[in-house]
Symmetry: C2
């Protein structure tokens, strides 16, 4: 049976980075740049003022102090977005607003707080003719240089990085309205099993509602993919084959159920027959029955392609844990992301865990930080069908294959499902 | 001048939790439940099998071992979604698949691996008439009890929690197709300043592209709000007033620029005149010029309401930092969330920082974990207009107001903008 790492490697080998698409910059949030963002301009475009104040020749302020103001003649006012036609010659100054280009002749800006501006409080700005400078200005004071942030001709953002809000702002500041990013994967989601009923239906005896389609589709959304819900296929070969046809234009197929040892677990059989099955069990708990293979599909030009297919276990909690361990990294890789691992922390166990299966255990836990340490307690019964165990959890504690018992107080690794900003604790 | 905490408190006082809306469960991801989710059913609905195997009377397996199999007559097959009509009487068994209801008479399930099933490998399941049990089964073995996960009549999810994938799965398992959640806030975003040009235009000398609208709108999206872009208003009273009218149906208004001490910083004047201004400066760097007030608006029934208005600084980096510190918590509160703080970590500084302004500093930093410690280095020049400083950063190091210098090697708190799964490092 494959280890978690071996299984993941086989899956990642088949998960190829998708093509680029051009989108408005605001829609690119969370996607990966498929082009270098080059700057055709200087940012800022001209030397400009970092403060509201007076543009001066620094030598004119020599010796200026509260007690010995240096008085200058105000020859113009310049606002952000305007350019002054005046030159600052000895003994003169231009009143300047934040962001406005520095007038010729000036080499520094004295902010209002360092002038006698206060006494002009009731004078309209355009009528101020004289200002007292109350402190010495060194050359360059309060001046933002042209190209200081981004110089013309440089690469401001490199292909391959993830677009966050700062990158969107940066692209806008360079005049980009659209950008090329790796497109989001379309993920077909199919539930299998005669026992399943759609949430909108009434529930006959012996049946259960299909929850996996929803937990899985929402995980696809959360991690940046586009879910395509195919509904429920009964354990019937014809129905299953027909539903699988609807996945042909997807980038990945996720099925739930039908991958155990049972005679009616048809997914893995059809996969073995019509597609290619690469493995169907992993040394992990929960989540041992995990089938992985490829089915035949078509790209948008009608060319045949092969679509990675993960057959997730039917049990609700197993299904979600398998998604986090195996589907999430594959999706991220397809989106061009480099960092495929969930954050992990060291936790001190507040419960003991037995491992008699010889598999890697991922138990659902509530992880809390107290006094600088993380502590983990289990969310109650860990049965692989118990969805409340996932709902209560914000992390998964990891017990290695070769460890048969973890005691209260032992330190183990935990994979964080949610950081504290998202958690219900 | 207000401290960060005082300013935030004033803002939160005006940010009210929005009304509930009913959405399909898959769309509720990240929103807050506005109703208790009660269960009308048992989950699972009936006692059922946790394994593929044979449903037996445990007393029939007494003494069973590899060497001394106990042979039972196979009287039926039951699949998930079906119910067996047979009763398991002494000496008999029903072949059972995972999830299938336990037949009357049986009190445990022996998994295939603990039977002589292997020898029937080539026999069609329906022709198997006898099976050898190879290990003793205790009562309840491999049986999931009805209501074990969620008992009929209990509250499975409480009003007020944040919906994640597990909660969506859980709601589906109870048959919910829609759910009531607090609706997402609509946030109007308006940039002000004569110097600003829309990204799609060409750039005249002395002008700059409006980047704030995009960084801010994408932050609104990231934290769960719906941005409504109002474009650019020149520093012209009539234009500004007319643009503000377009924000009337929003839940929050964000303007950028126009809040400094400059004479042409009109936002705070109009706010003071037409709305209510609660403060306009905060003891923080970057982000000192932050205006907060309320403008008049209308709800969807035409009733007048007051809309919180944050006037963010025009400098690109200040604007984003102010958003993280003041807008994000307000948005989250409006969405009904309880945890309004970004995660913080203790970091060891790899750069020194001077604080001569007597304000709280939030410097942009790259925070990395090495050998179990977090280290922070600055992203280069920290000018408040330098957007690349935000693009390079994954966190903000916090220097308290009263600390005048932080040296290399000192430990400080850092606010994490992005956890490692999202970062470009």
């Amino acid at each position: 049976m494959l280890s978690v790492e071996e299984a993941l490697q086989k899956i990642l080998n088949e998960a190829n980075v998708l093509e680029a698409e051009s989108v408005p910059i605001l829609e690119s949030l969370g996607q990966v740049l498929a082009e270098d963002i080059k700057s055709d301009i200087n940012v800022p475009p001209l030397d400009n003022s970092a403060m509201d104040g007076y543009a001066v020749r620094s030598q004119d302020t020599k010796g200026a102090s509260e007690k010995t103001p240096r008085f200058l003649q105000v020859i113009d006012i310049v606002l952000a977005g305007s350019i002054s036609r005046q030159e600052v010659v000895p003994g003169t100054t231009v009143r300047i607003m934040t962001g406005a280009p520095i007038p010729r002749g000036a080499d520094s800006v004295v902010q209002f707080e360092d002038t006698d501006e206060q006494k002009n409080k009731n004078t309209p700005a355009e009528k101020i003719t004289r200002v007292g400078i109350l402190s010495e200005a060194r050359p360059g004071l309060n001046i933002r240089l042209a190209g200081e942030d981004i110089a013309r001709g440089t690469i401001a953002l490199k292909k391959g990085i993830v677009v966050r809000s700062a990158e969107i702002g940066l692209m806008a500041s360079l005049g980009y309205s659209r950008v090329k990013v790796i497109r989001r994967p379309i993920v077909a989601v199919l539930s299998t099993g005669n026992e399943l009923v759609e949430v909108s239906q009434s529930l006959p005896e012996g049946k259960i509602y299909d929850s996996n389609a929803y937990s899985i589709a929402s995980l696809v959304k959360r991690y940046g993919g586009i879910p395509k819900l195919l509904g429920i296929a009964r354990d019937d070969e014809a129905e299953l084959v027909s539903k699988l046809k609807q996945a042909q234009d997807a980038d990945m197929l996720l099925t739930t159920g039908g991958v155990s040892m049972g005679d009616y677990d048809m997914v893995k059989d059809i996969l073995a027959r019509d597609g290619e099955m690469l493995f169907w069990q992993v040394r992990v708990k929960p989540g041992k029955p995990l089938a992985f293979g490829k089915i035949k599909g078509k790209d948008k030009n009608g060319k045949s392609k092969s679509i990675p297919h993960l057959g997730l276990p039917g049990n609700a909690a197993s299904c979600m844990v398998s998604f986090e361990l195996f589907v999430r990294p594959a999706l991220l890789k397809m989106m061009g992301k480099k960092n495929l691992t969930k954050p992990t922390v060291e936790v001190i166990m507040e419960d003991s865990i037995k491992n008699d299966a010889g598999r890697r255990i991922y138990d659902r836990a509530i992880i809390e930080k107290r006094d600088g340490h993380y502590y983990a307690r289990l969310t109650g019964p860990q049965g692989s069908g118990i969805l409340t165990s996932m709902s209560l959890a914000n992390g998964l504690v990891l017990i290695p294959e070769e460890i048969t018992k973890v005691n209260k107080g032992d330190t183990v690794q935990a994979l964080m499902l949610d950081w504290n900003e998202e958690v219900n604790l």
